[in-house]
């Protein structure tokens, strides 16, 4: 067995290519102002010890190693340590204890003992010499804290709170300079409060880049709320242990929680460059993240006893809980103003069905809601309304698909768009800041606010780019900062940041809009339900019309006829004529009722869709016309072979019969003709063909073109052109629409009309075999 000195992680760190990788939590060395002991369990023997024991305890490491701790300190303190081996040590720290040298009768030494369990599992005891002027006076501590707490609670805002804290900490500790750093989202720190000596240069308002405090250091700040370096010019003290020869080297002690933990040489260098001899930092934590630091500097070495550090740490924790409160009070007037605006929007939107027009009705308010200079309201990828200063429509259309991939819970916020989206460099002056929210990604409904570039001067404490050197092996060596003199940078492509309250306003608006959309969907469902109900009511109405209305009508008709039959000799010619008119009118009324019934049924009945060869169908129709003597001198021309469409045979027959008989009926030519043809290519929808029926009839005046399809709208007196109910074309239109097609009419008055309509064709190949089987299985489709 021999005593070995554990290797110190030291000089290698200076050459790190990236100090983010420096293992600062396992330096295997401590600062010399205390002694570190690693204890065994459960016998509490000293397993490792720092090499400075002789200076502080008068015993060499060899005299301490493998000795039981109760040889040196009273058993009640040993018990205090043992009793909370498995629990938090915080409530016993510090343990004021006396260290007895066994072979010596001299007065025991006073220490503050600080116990903790390392992350790697070891039981660690750190001993710091007690400074005699500090008494462990509970009431003194209580009054100090109570006084500060009252002041903290009455502080109006964050700035006041920070100023208060730096002054309090300075008063308690006596550091030359106490500052509060606040980290932004990039990790850069800004000094937001400072208490300093008059002759010192001010750091207030200065920015310190993220790299000044490496990631793992920031992590340690969240584990350990307080960090003290009493003298940066200290000599690091290594650890010693007894070790069997040839045995495995001990794992390195994780010193994350050690207050004596040695400092990274890079950090020491940094502090030296800052002309700081002693430093202390207290963490400010919000939501488990490092929000900022209370950073204390002193130009000469300075030790802060554990009790005072505890007060500082406690103040740091108090302040951490107060930050959220104070931040909520930040910009209170502005927040209230935004709240009012939001309320007005929500109220207005609640009363509307068309949120887009309501949004753009008050462009000023929409911009002020988020403090933007421009806004784009997108109803779809093409229907975009621009207000204020925005990129061009084309630029926004290009931006939309990119944004789609960058929404985080339907919102995207940046104050420097061009950094993320290089195409935006063209318009940084107008849109460096973007606050976009998706109301519906499926329907491409977005609201995108824009903020112009704000050229800003950032006061860096020295050039934020660390000096680098490219080594021969290709690695880059980064040196600690040399200078902290004011170094100004002009930042381009950046807007003023979007405040949380502005983003909250946008989100609230989004919620209001989503509610409207949901409500509209609900309304639509209700309307559909209502429609269904009224449809079935219409159906029963149609039934009543067909049945109950027809019964008295039949009575009128029959009785008028009976009168004519039985009393024709008694009636004057005029009376018989009037009765004939009555009979004719009842006939007409019946056909109107029938048409209405047919029309109302058409909307609901299931279509029997099959492939129909129109040539075949037209042949049947032509025969029908041919056998009716009414249509002599009438000719149906089919100049080209017609396609096969998908449709309901009976209904399509009716379409052709209706349109062709109309063409013949409203025709004053000696030789009447219609021409049935079709257009193969339909640019709008390849699944449809366009059929047209052209005639040499009387034509329709242009002003009536719109009304020919309206039900019961007739263009001629009932006595002319053989009468008609005025429902034929309405029924035709309905049939075409039920097939998914459209119908339109063109006409030259006095020369003829062309009715053209679209019908579906078999385009979906997967449908064809199904229909084919249907046909074979059903001999009469």
């Amino acid at each position: 067995m021999q005593i070995v000195n554990l290797p110190i992680n030291n000089e290698e760190a200076v050459n790190l290519t990236n100090c983010d990788r420096e293992p600062i939590h396992v330096p295997s060395s401590i600062q010399p102002h205390g002694v570190l002991l690693v204890l065994s369990e459960p016998d509490i023997k000293i397993m490792q010890v720092s090499e400075n024991t002789f200076d502080l305890l008068g015993l060499t490491p060899a005299e301490l190693l493998d000795r039981r701790l109760d040889e040196f300190i009273s058993s009640e303190h040993i018990e205090a340590i043992s009793s909370c081996l498995d629990r938090s040590f915080e409530h016993i720290n510090p343990i004021p204890l006396k260290f007895y040298t066994p072979d010596d009768d001299s007065t025991p030494l006073s220490f503050n003992g600080i116990v903790h369990r390392a992350i790697t599992g070891e039981l660690v005891l750190e001993l710091e010499p007690t400074v005699s002027i500090i008494k462990n006076d509970f009431f003194q501590f209580y009054h100090q804290i109570k006084n500060t707490l009252t002041k903290m609670q009455t502080a109006l805002n964050l700035t006041e709170l920070c100023n208060l804290i730096v002054q309090e900490i300075q008063a308690i500790t006596g550091f030359d300079r106490v500052m509060i750093y606040r980290f932004n989202e990039n990790g850069d720190g800004t000094v937001i409060a400072e208490a300093k000596q008059d002759e010192q240069e001010a750091f207030l308002g200065m920015h310190f880049p993220d790299t000044d405090i490496p990631k793992q250091a920031k992590h340690l700040y969240t584990l350990n709320w307080l960090r003290l370096i009493p003298d940066i010019n200290y000599q690091a003290i290594g650890l010693a242990t007894h070790q069997e020869e040839d045995s495995e080297p001990l794992p390195k002690l994780d010193m994350s929680y050690c207050s004596l933990r040695s400092v990274s040489p890079i950090h020491i260098e940094y502090l030296k460059n800052m002309e700081v001899a002693a430093s202390m930092s207290v963490s400010l934590i919000q939501n488990q993240e490092l929000w900022g630091l209370i950073s204390c500097h002193h130009s000469t070495p300075k030790f802060i006893p554990y009790e005072i550090r505890t007060i500082c740490e406690f103040l740091g924790q108090l302040m951490s809980t107060e930050i959220a409160n104070k931040e909520a009070n930040e910009n209170l007037d502005y927040k209230l103003y935004l709240k009012t605006l939001q309320g007005q929007f929500v109220e207005r939107l609640a009363r509307t069905d068309d949120f887009v027009s309501e949004l753009i009705a008050d462009p000023e308010a929409l911009l002020k809601l988020t403090g933007a200079a421009g806004v784009a309201v997108c109803q779809s990828n093409v229907d975009i309304t621009l207000i204020g200063q925005t990129p061009t429509l084309e630029q926004i259309k290009t931006l939309l698909p990119w944004l789609l991939e960058h929404y985080n819970q339907d919102i995207f916020v940046t104050d420097s768009l061009s950094r993320l989206y290089p195409l935006a460099e063209e318009y940084t002056a107008i849109a460096s800041g973007v606050l976009a929210m998706a109301i519906s990604k499926i329907q491409h409904r977005y609201i995108i606010w824009f903020r112009p570039e704000m050229l800003q001067t950032v006061n860096w404490a020295g050039n934020p780019d660390k000096p680098k050197r490219l080594e021969e092996d290709g690695t880059i060596t980064i040196f600690p900062r040399q200078s902290f003199e004011l170094w100004q940078e002009t930042v381009n492509g950046k807007s003023s940041p979007w405040l949380d309250c502005e983003i909250a306003g946008a989100l609230e608006l989004r919620q209001a809009i989503v509610d409207i959309v949901l409500r509209q969907a609900e309304d639509l469902a209700n309307i559909n339900l209502e429609l269904e109900r009224s449809n079935s009511e219409l159906d029963s109405f149609a039934y009543i019309a067909s049945h109950d209305l027809k019964e008295p009508l039949r009575g009128i008709h029959n009785y008028a006829t009976f009168l004519l039959e039985d009393y024709s000799d008694m009636l004057q010619g005029d009376g018989a004529e009037k009765l004939n008119t009555l009979v004719r009118l009842t006939k007409r009324m019946e056909s109107l009722i029938d048409s209405l019934l047919k029309f109302s049924r058409l909307g609901r009945q299931e279509l029997q869709m099959y492939p129909i060869a129109l040539d075949q169908l037209l042949k049947t129709v032509t025969e029908l016309f041919a056998i009716n003597p009414q249509w002599t001198n009438c000719q149906i021309r089919v100049p080209q072979s017609l396609p096969t469409v998908l449709g309901d045979r009976v209904l399509l027959e009716e379409v052709f019969i209706n349109l062709i008989s109309n063409a013949f009926k409203y025709n004053e030519q000696a030789d009447k003709w219609v021409e049935v043809g079709w257009l193969e290519s339909n640019s709008q929808d390849p699944n449809f063909v366009t059929i047209y029926i052209r005639d040499n009839g009387i034509g329709i005046r242009e002003k009536h073109l719109d009304s020919v399809f309206r039900i019961f709208k007739r263009l001629h007196a009932p006595s002319k052109y053989g009468g008609g109910t005025g429902a034929g074309l309405t029924i035709v239109k309905k049939i075409i629409e039920r097939h998914g097609g459209k119908i339109q009419v063109q006409s030259v008055y006095g020369q003829g009309s062309v009715f053209s309509f679209t019908l579906p064709i078999e385009s979906n190949t997967s449908v064809i075999p199904e229909i084919a089987t249907d046909i074979t299985s059903n001999p009469h489709p």
Binding site: E551, N558, E565
Partner: protein, 164 residues
């Protein structure tokens, strides 16, 4: 000539055709058409009219005031569909579910050409479904065909009653 009975008791021996029709005008049109029938006057039909389904069913089932009626069942029933109180469809169902009545042919005479009505009637067991036409001559034609078909060429289950 066809004869319209005032009550089933008026003639207890000759065959009766029951007609259930609520509309006086429709019945009169029908009746007028039967008077002009151009048929072999082999038999005289007695018509018995009911204006609603309830009364017709009481007659057919021999209930209520008809419980002591001692007359043969009608040879056929001519039925309008939409009736006050018990509906025509219900009349068909009852008749066709009653063993002693179910052989009586039911000829539906109605205005409704709704597919659902037609199918329901046949489903319940109606024997024939005819539409009431509009127009006197059309009515004449319909009645003529109806009589020729059902009372001249068709052999009815109550054939024996005709010949005796």
């Amino acid at each position: 000539m066809q004869k319209l009975l005032n009550s089933p008791w008026e003639n207890l021996t000759d065959p009766v055709i029951a007609i259930i029709e609520d509309s006086d005008e429709d019945f009169y049109s029908f009746w007028r058409a039967t008077q002009k029938l151009n048929l072999l006057e082999r038999l005289t039909y007695n018509f018995l009219r009911f204006e609603d389904g309830d009364e017709a069913l009481e007659y057919l089932l021999r209930q209520g005031e008809y419980q002591d009626l001692n007359a043969a069942f009608p040879v056929a029933i001519l039925l309008d569909l939409n009736l006050p109180n018990t509906d025509g469809r219900e009349v068909i169902r009852t008749v066709k579910q009653t063993p002693i009545l179910q052989i009586i042919p039911i000829i539906v005479l109605t205005t409704s050409n709704s597919l659902q009505d037609i199918q329901t009637c046949y489903q319940y067991g109606a024997n024939c479904y005819m539409l009431k036409p509009m127009g006197v001559s059309e009515m004449q034609q319909t009645v003529q065909i109806l009589f020729q078909h059902w009372f001249q060429f068709t052999v009815l289950p109550s054939y024996g009653q005709f010949t005796t």
